[in-house]
C-alpha cells in the first residue's frame, strides 16, 4: 500500500524540473552516455508471444482507448505554473511535444524542432523549426511562439531559475530561433527535453495574462486535451493532424490517479485500467511471473543516473556534522538487508550515483558494511560528546516505514539512539529546505546527465539552517562545485568523465547521502497494450524507452 507521497503532484524532488544545463553533446551519438545495458538482474517478463515486454510485435492497429493508472494527479497544464513529476510528465507529454528528445543511445536529438546547432564556442545555438506544424487550436508553430514560451517560462517564479543560463532568445526569422547563453554549455539542448522544452500555444499565454489561471491546454502533441477532473481522471483524444504522420495509433488515452499501490494493482487485475506505473519494487515482483502482463522497469536501460533512494544527512547540525558520525552511520547500514526487504531483492548495492554500466562509473571509497568499525567511531564520539542521538524522519508510507525501522535497528546496534518520526510530505520538504532535520529518507538524482543535479550539490545553494537552501544536506564542498562546472563547460569527454568521477568520489568521502538502492520505476500492462516502451524519435531512431517512469503514448497501440 505505497501511498504516492513520494510522487505526489508537488514532489519537486523528481525528474527534469531543473534544466540548468546539460552534458550530452548534440549530435555526438553514443558518446557520453551509455544506452541500454544487459544487466543480469533485470526482471523482464516475456509476454505470451515471447516478445520483449513493451515492444510491440506485428502490425500496429489503429484505434482503441487506453486507460493508465497513475500514482498521483497532475496539478495543471501550463508549464510555467507547474512542476511535473513522473505522473505529470506522462500526462503532459500526451498533449505537448518537447523541442528535443533523448535517444536510446543517450544522445539528445531534435524532436519538435528540426535541428539545433551550436556555434563554435557553444554559447550560441540556432534552432530551426519544422514547417507546417499547427497547434490543436489551428495556430501555427512559429519562432515567435517559441520566444513567447521562453518569456513566459522565464518570468515565472516556478521555472525561471531553470533558464538563468540563457541570456536571450530571439526569432531571427519565422522558423528560426536564436539562443544566446551566458556561458558556453555544450549540453544545452538537454534542458529542452524536459518541462521547459514543452511547447505550448500563444492562446494559453494570452489566457493567463488575462487572469485565467487554468487555461485550456493548447499543444502540438499526439493527443488533444478533452477533460480533466482533479483526482479522478484526465482524458485526451487523438490529434488527427499530428505532425508525425500515422501517429498516434490510439484514439483516446485516459489517466486515473490511484494513490494506493495495492489498489492500483487490483484495478489492473480487474480491468479498470490497462496499464499502471509504480515505484514499489514489490509491483515488479508481483507481476514478473505472470504471462498475461508485461513488465518494464528501470533495472535495465537507464540512461544517465538512476533515481536512488538514500538517507540524507544534515552536514551542519550535530551529531551528523561530525564526519565520524556519518562514517559510522554508513558503516552501520547494511544495504543488502534493506534491498532484501524494501527492494524485494531487486537492485544492487550502490557506492555512488552511477550504476556499474555507466561510463562515469568508477568504484568509490564509499564505506562498506562494517559494524565493528562503526562501533569504534561511535565510541570515539561518545567519549567526547555522549551517546549520539538521531531523529530519522520519513513520510507516512508503509514501505518507507519498513526501511526506517530496519535502519533504526542497525544504527542502534552500533551505538546510536535513533528515534523515528513520520511526517507529511509537505513538512518533510519544508524541513529539507530549511535544514531542520538530522537524517531523512529521500530519493532523487535520476537524470540523463549529472549536470542536472548541480543545484542540489552546489556550494552556492547551501545556506545556513533556517534559510532556504536547495543543497538540503548543506554539504559545502568546493571540489564538487569546481568539478560540476568543469563538466558542464567542457566539450571533452575524458575531462567530463574525470570530473564526474571526482564528484562521485567526493560524495563518498563527504557522506551527505547514505545510499540505499536504486529507486525503481515500473510499468505493468496487459498483453494487448503494445509498444509502450518502444518509442521513436521523428528521425526514426529509437528514443529513451522508459525514462524513470515516463513512457511515451505516441507509439502505443492495442492489439485485437
Amino acid at each position: 500500500m505505497t501511498k504516492s507521497n513520494d510522487m505526489s503532484r508537488r514532489t519537486f524532488l523528481s525528474r527534469g524540473a531543473v534544466a540548468g544545463g546539460a552534458v550530452v553533446l548534440a549530435g555526438a551519438a553514443g558518446s557520453a552516455l551509455a544506452g541500454c545495458s544487459s544487466d543480469s538482474t533485470s526482471s523482464s517478463t516475456t509476454a505470451a508471444s515471447g516478445s520483449k515486454p513493451g515492444v510491440g510485435t506485428g502490425t500496429p492497429v489503429q484505434g482503441g482507448s487506453l486507460t493508465v493508472g497513475n500514482m498521483a494527479d497532475i496539478d495543471g497544464f501550463y508549464p510555467p505554473n507547474n512542476h511535473f513529476d513522473t505522473n505529470g510528465y506522462n500526462i503532459a507529454l500526451t498533449i505537448y511535444d518537447t523541442l528535443c528528445g533523448v535517444a536510446a543511445d543517450g544522445s539528445t536529438q531534435p524532436n519538435l524542432c528540426e535541428s539545433i546547432t551550436p556555434n563554435s564556442t557553444f554559447d550560441g545555438w540556432t534552432m530551426k523549426l519544422r514547417s507546417g506544424i499547427k497547434f490543436n487550436d489551428g495556430s501555427d508553430l512559429t519562432a515567435a511562439v517559441i520566444v513567447a514560451n521562453y518569456q513566459a517560462l522565464n518570468a515565472s517564479l516556478l521555472t525561471g531559475q531553470a533558464l538563468t543560463q540563457i541570456a536571450s532568445v530571439t526569432a531571427t526569422d519565422s522558423m528560426t530561433v536564436q539562443y544566446k547563453l551566458t556561458a558556453p554549455n555544450p549540453g544545452f539542448p538537454n534542458g529542452l527535453t524536459t518541462q521547459v522544452g514543452m511547447v505550448f500555444g500563444q492562446a494559453m499565454i494570452d489566457a493567463v495574462k488575462g487572469g485565467n489561471a487554468r487555461p485550456t491546454p493548447v499543444g502540438t502533441g499526439p493527443f488533444i486535451f478533452e477533460s480533466w477532473q482533479p483526482n479522478d481522471h484526465f482524458t485526451a483524444t487523438r490529434n488527427p493532424s499530428y505532425w508525425r504522420k500515422g501517429l498516434p495509433y490510439l484514439d483516446k488515452i485516459t489517466f486515473k490517479p490511484i494513490p494506493d499501490t495495492v489498489q492500483r494493482e487490483a484495478t489492473l487485475k480487474t480491468g479498470g485500467v490497462d496499464m499502471l506505473v509504480s515505484t514499489d519494487p514489490l509491483t515488479i515482483k508481483r507481476f514478473s511471473d505472470k504471462p498475461d502482463y508485461q513488465v518494464v522497469d528501470t533495472l535495465t536501460g537507464v540512461i544517465g543516473e538512476p533515481s536512488v533512494a538514500f538517507i540524507m544527512l544534515n552536514t551542519v547540525v550535530p551529531p551528523t556534522d561530525d564526519i565520524r558520525i556519518r562514517q559510522a552511520l554508513a558503516k552501520g547500514l547494511d544495504q543488502a538487508t534493506v534491498q532484501k526487504i524494501f527492494g524485494a531483492g531487486y537492485g544492487e548495492p550502490l557506492d555512488g550515483i552511477f550504476l556499474p554500466d555507466s561510463p562515469y562509473y568508477k568504484k568509490t571509497s564509499y564505506p562498506t558494511f562494517d559494524p565493528a568499525g562503526a562501533k569504534k567511531l561511535v565510541a570515539q564520539y561518545k567519549a567526547e560528546h555522549g551517546t549520539p542521538k538521531l531523529e530519522l524522519i520519513t513520510i507516512t508510507d508503509p514501505r518507507l516505514a519498513q526501511v526506517v525501522q530496519i535502519i533504526q535497528q542497525m544504527w542502534n546496534q552500533v551505538g546510536f539512539e535513533v528515534t523515528i518520526s513520520q511526517i507529511q510530505q509537505a513538512n518533510l520538504v519544508s524541513n529539507f529546505v530549511s535544514g531542520k532535520f538530522q537524517a531523512a529518507t529521500s530519493y532523487q538524482f535520476g537524470n540523463v546527465t549529472p549536470d542536472l543535479n548541480y543545484v542540489w550539490w552546489s556550494t552556492t545553494t547551501a545556506k545556513p539552517v533556517g534559510q532556504i537552501a536547495l543543497n538540503f544536506a548543506r554539504n559545502v564542498d568546493p571540489i564538487i562545485e569546481e568539478n560540476m562546472l568543469t563538466a558542464r563547460h567542457t566539450a571533452d569527454t575524458a575531462t567530463r568523465t574525470k570530473a564526474y568521477q571526482t564528484v562521485n568520489e567526493q560524495l563518498a568521502k563527504d557522506l551527505p547521502y547514505l545510499w540505499l538502492q536504486q529507486y525503481l520505476f515500473s510499468a505493468v500492462a496487459v498483453s494487448r497494450v503494445q509498444n509502450f516502451a518502444n518509442p521513436t524519435l521523428p528521425s526514426g531512431a529509437p528514443a529513451y524507452a522508459f525514462n524513470e517512469g515516463i513512457f511515451s503514448s505516441t507509439a502505443i497501440w492495442l492489439s485485437k
Partner: protein, 319 residues
C-alpha cells in the same frame, strides 16, 4: 388508539430539555425515561446466573490487563527485534504466533501492543470522563447560562472536521503515546459531556433531589451524594463503548502515520502493518492476532457490562 406511552409522564423533563437542542434532547430524554421507570421485579432476566460466557469474558479481560501490565516480566522475546532470517513466518515453536514482515515476534508485539492500546483507550476515556464528565454532571444539574455555553461548545467541537485537528495537533506536537492519548481523550470530552449531562439533568428533577434542596443541602453535596451515584451506570456503559471506539480509531491514526512512533507496537498499528503492502493476501495471520484480540476484548467488556446491569437490577441503559 392513544399512545400508552403517555402514561409515563416525564413531561417536566421534556420541558426543561426541549429548550436546548431538542434533537439531542430527545436522546437525553430517553436516558431520562430509562432511569425514571419502576423496576420490574418479576423480570426473569434478573434471576439468571452469570453464565459461562461472563466468566470467559472476565478471564480474557484479566489476561489482557495482566499481560499488558507485567509484559516486562513475561518470558517474551524483544518485540522490536528484527530477525532478518525469519521474515513473515507462520506460527512455529520459535515464534508462537509467527513473525511479521521485519522478522519480529508477533506474540511479543501483541502483548506489548496491548499496553499502548489499553493506555490510549482507558486513559483517553479517563480524560473525557474527568473533564467532560464532571462538566456534564455539574452542567446538567445547574443548568442556566453555563449549561447553554458548554452545550454549544461541545456542539462546536463535534462539528469541526476531526481529521484536520488531529493532523494539525500531531504536526505541532509530535507523535508520542502521551500526546496521542491526550488528543483522543480530548476528542471524547464532548461525547462524555453530552451523555453525563443528560443523565445528571434527569436526576436533578427527581423528588429526592428537590427534597434535599429544600432541606438546605449545598449544591456540592447534592451533586456528590445524590446525583453522582445515579449517574454511574450510564457512565460506565457509555465509557466502555467509547474505549472500544478509541482503540479502533488508534488504528486509523496509525494508517495515516499519526499514531505512536515506530516501532512501538499497538494493536492499531499491528493491524495496520498486517494490512499494508498486500500482507493481507500473503500473510494474513499478521493482522489476525491483533484484530482478534481487539474483538475479544471489546466483546468481553460489553458482555460484562450487560450481565452486570441485568444482575444488579440496573435497567439496560441507552447503550
Amino acid at each position: 388508539m392513544p399512545d400508552d406511552r403517555e402514561l409515563l409522564d416525564t413531561g417536566a423533563s421534556a420541558q426543561l430539555l426541549g429548550d436546548r437542542f431538542p434533537g439531542m434532547a430527545a436522546m437525553d430524554e430517553h436516558v431520562v425515561a430509562m432511569q425514571s421507570e419502576k423496576l420490574d421485579s418479576d423480570d426473569v432476566l434478573l434471576k439468571r446466573p452469570f453464565g459461562f460466557l461472563f466468566w470467559f469474558a472476565l478471564v480474557w479481560i484479566a489476561i489482557v490487563f495482566l499481560a499488558a501490565i507485567f509484559a516486562n516480566l513475561l518470558p517474551l522475546q524483544n518485540p522490536n527485534f528484527q530477525n532478518y532470517s525469519a521474515l513473515s513466518q507462520g506460527p512455529s515453536s520459535a515464534h508462537l504466533l509467527g513473525t511479521d514482515d521485519l522478522g519480529r515476534d508477533l506474540l511479543a508485539r501483541l502483548i506489548f501492543g496491548a499496553r499502548v492500546s489499553l493506555i490510549v483507550g482507558f486513559f483517553g476515556v479517563g480524560i473525557g470522563l474527568i473533564v467532560g464528565g464532571t462538566a456534564g454532571l455539574i452542567s446538567g444539574y445547574k443548568g442556566g447560562r453555563l449549561d447553554v455555553a458548554l452545550n454549544a461548545g461541545s456542539f462546536i467541537i463535534l462539528a469541526f472536521p476531526a481529521i484536520v485537528a488531529v493532523i494539525a495537533i500531531v504536526t505541532f506536537w509530535g507523535q508520542s503515546l502521551v500526546h496521542i492519548t491526550i488528543i483522543l481523550g480530548v476528542a471524547t470530552i464532548p461525547l462524555m459531556f453530552r451523555v453525563i449531562r443528560a443523565s445528571s439533568l434527569s436526576f436533578a428533577q427527581r423528588d429526592f433531589v428537590v427534597a434535599a434542596k429544600t432541606m438546605g443541602a449545598t449544591d456540592t453535596r447534592i451533586v456528590l451524594r445524590e446525583i453522582f451515584p445515579n449517574v454511574i451506570p450510564v457512565t460506565v456503559t457509555f465509557s466502555l463503548i467509547t474505549v472500544a471506539g478509541i482503540i479502533v480509531i488508534e488504528g486509523t491514526l496509525a494508517f495515516l502515520g499519526l499514531s505512536v512512533n515506530l516501532p512501538t507496537p499497538s494493536w492499531g498499528n499491528l493491524i495496520n502493518e498486517g494490512t499494508a503492502n498486500n500482507a493481507l493476501s500473503t500473510d494474513p495471520y499478521i493482522m489476525l492476532w491483533p484484530a482478534m484480540s481487539m474483538f475479544l476484548l471489546l466483546w468481553s467488556i460489553n458482555l460484562i457490562g450487560d450481565r452486570l446491569r441485568q444482575r444488579f437490577d440496573i435497567r439496560e441503559g441507552l447503550l
